[in-house]
């Protein structure tokens, strides 16, 4: 029985010509673009994000297919800012590449309290475990269009490590003054197959290098061809090396036991039928990972404040008695430590 995390976004290859499609001459690139855009928009809508209507980068009809044949796509979608008036929240990237290394580190924060000389062990205090991921990959190009598209990917990735800003206007002595206010870092949802699964992250590094040994596409007057371009002074590398790093911010409680596992301190806290941190595909999860029934927490008493519709409503005696009985019943169920 598969894990429930293997909801599979179909890749670009579904929209590209392949011998299994039969007559290749009938392949329509524009239709492929539209279909891919539609699919990406659907993925964004599924995540509660606003789809962007822009045209996708050039369909990678060469190296991209090899990348896709072997590896899942790297998908990076910016999470819109929570504050109003803050710019950003529009970046969405999904592309295939040739990964070279994937390094993930889990660092536990331990503090050792040293006591007297000669004590065998210090007292160890645990503070938490932090997860970071670093991926290196190559973007290769067989055509000029692909090289441009790769540089466009780098531009977008480079922008991810800069902060967000908002503009505010203040009026002093009838003069409007515009201020630029820093609004913190950008956050993203990142997905890379079973290794990174829709994790909320911020991007802690981005570096790209041109692989000059792989060569560049040269200038030639006239129109662009697959292997020459018509902009003098433009360098279009055939290969780019990219390093990107993510710090993961988990939305769920991590550890064993916890509020989602009442009476089950040995089970993984998330209580969802999926492995963590990495996906394991079509095999069932281990027993300690299996979901158990969650206990629904009682809703907290509502505080009626001045201005609320029912602020000055006095409940009649029967209603008041019913409310008291309801509170006591909840207390008896053990949701409050001090029922009185």
């Amino acid at each position: 029985m598969p894990n429930d995390d293997e909801i599979v976004p179909e890749g670009i290859s579904d929209f590209l010509p392949h011998e299994s499609h039969g007559d290749l001459s009938s392949f329509d690139v524009d239709e492929a673009h539209r279909a891919m855009r539609s699919r990406t928009d659907q993925l964004m809508a599924d995540r509660g994000l606003t789809p962007i209507g822009e045209r996708p980068p050039v369909v990678r009809t060469s190296i991209g297919i090899i990348g896709e044949a072997l590896y899942p796509p790297l998908q990076i979608v910016e999470i819109p800012p929570e504050l109003e008036g803050v710019e950003g929240g529009q970046m969405s990237l999904q592309f295939f590449m040739i990964p070279t290394t994937f390094d993930e580190t889990f660092k536990s924060r331990w503090q050792a309290e040293e006591l007297s000389d000669g004590r065998i062990n210090p007292i160890y205090n645990y503070g938490g475990t932090q997860r970071e991921i670093s991926i290196s990959f190559k973007l290769a190009a067989l055509t000029v269009q692909e090289a441009r598209s790769n540089l466009s990917v780098c531009e977008k990735l480079a922008r991810t490590v800069y902060g967000r800003y908002r503009r505010s206007e203040t009026t002093i002595r009838e003069r409007v003054r515009t201020n630029t206010v820093f609004a913190g870092h950008k956050t993203f949802t990142v997905d890379f197959g079973g290794l990174i699964r829709d994790e909320k992250t911020f991007i802690n590094k981005f570096a790209f290098a041109t692989d000059i040994d792989a060569g560049v596409f040269d200038y030639s007057s006239g129109a662009d061809t697959d292997v020459t371009h018509n902009k003098k002074g433009t360098v279009l590398p055939r290969a780019l090396k990219i390093d990107i790093g993510f710090t993961i911010v988990h939305d769920t409680l991590l550890g064993f036991g916890g509020q989602n596992r009442p009476g089950e301190p040995l089970r993984w806290a998330e209580n969802r039928k999926r492995d963590w941190p990495h996906g394991t595909g079509k095999i069932d999860v281990q027993e300690y990972m299996k979901p158990t029934t969650e206990v629904q927490m009682a809703s907290l008493p509502r505080v009626i404040r001045y201005g609320d519709e029912d602020f000055d409503e006095v409940p009649d005696e029967d209603r008041a008695a019913a409310l008291v009985e309801e509170s006591l019943a909840r207390a008896r169920e053990g949701f409050f430590e001090n029922p009185e």
Binding site: E6, V8, T100, D103, P122, Y124, Y126, G194, L253, K282
Partner: protein, 211 residues
């Protein structure tokens, strides 16, 4: 309540082509135990760069007209580090090993109370043949794992759930390395054994390397 997990080295359908078969027959196994929960996971001990260092920390005082310092031993720390390689010879083994590695990573997390507070600190017992056996019960050495690095070198090959270039990997999701390197750096919690008539708090055979 569920029982603690006890994940042994891979012993599935393709064991004969896996390094797990050889490791099991030789007893070359490394076992991790999450002490707050008792969960256990075992891997073939394909170990490189094993280091077990015992580092004394001295205080030094320099007196007048003295060349050499007066030395006071403050403590002796024990740090362990090693690199473990996990090899996958089949898709089935890759999936199973990933679950094992997931459990190892999860061991870096504590037990949590229902109120969300950390309760059991994630001390991990490491048993690696006679090299990390422990001096008292032979159950391994309790460690404070400060860092675990999970590294994939894609050049060494991957396994995925589809048929590669011919069919294109439309599943897109499953990707497993043929070789996965896990680097672990830890501080050992030194065992003590307050036996009668013995002044030293250390077990008589501490540290034990099976010699």
């Amino acid at each position: 309540m569920t029982a603690p997990a006890n994940m042994k080295a891979y012993s599935g359908k393709y064991k004969n082509r896996s390094i797990a078969g050889w490791a099991d027959s030789q007893g070359y196994l490394i076992r991790f135990t999450h002490e707050p929960t008792g969960h256990q996971v075992e891997f073939p001990a394909l170990i490189s760069d094993f280091t077990d260092s015992h580092s004394p920390a001295f205080g030094q005082n320099h007196g007048a007209n003295m060349h050499d310092p007066i030395i006071t031993l403050k403590k002796t720390d024990r740090a362990i580090s090693f690199v473990m390689t996990v090899l996958n010879a089949s898709l089935e083994e890759a999936r199973y090993n990933r679950q094992c590695v997931n459990l190892l990573i999860q061991m870096l997390y504590p037990t949590v109370s229902e109120a969300g507070n950390f309760t059991g600190k994630p001390f991990i017992g490491v048993h690696m043949m006679n090299l990390l056996e422990g001096s008292i019960e032979g159950n391994g050495v309790t460690c404070v794992i400060e860092g675990l690095a999970y590294g994939i070198k894609f050049d060494e090959g991957i396994l995925n759930a589809n048929e590669g270039v011919v069919a294109l990997n439309r599943s897109g999701k499953e990707i497993y390395p043929q070789s996965l390197e896990i680097s672990i750096s830890a501080k050992a919690v030194v065992e003590s054994d307050r036996a009668e008539g013995v002044a030293s708090p250390f077990p008589v055979n501490y540290p034990s390397y099976g010699g």
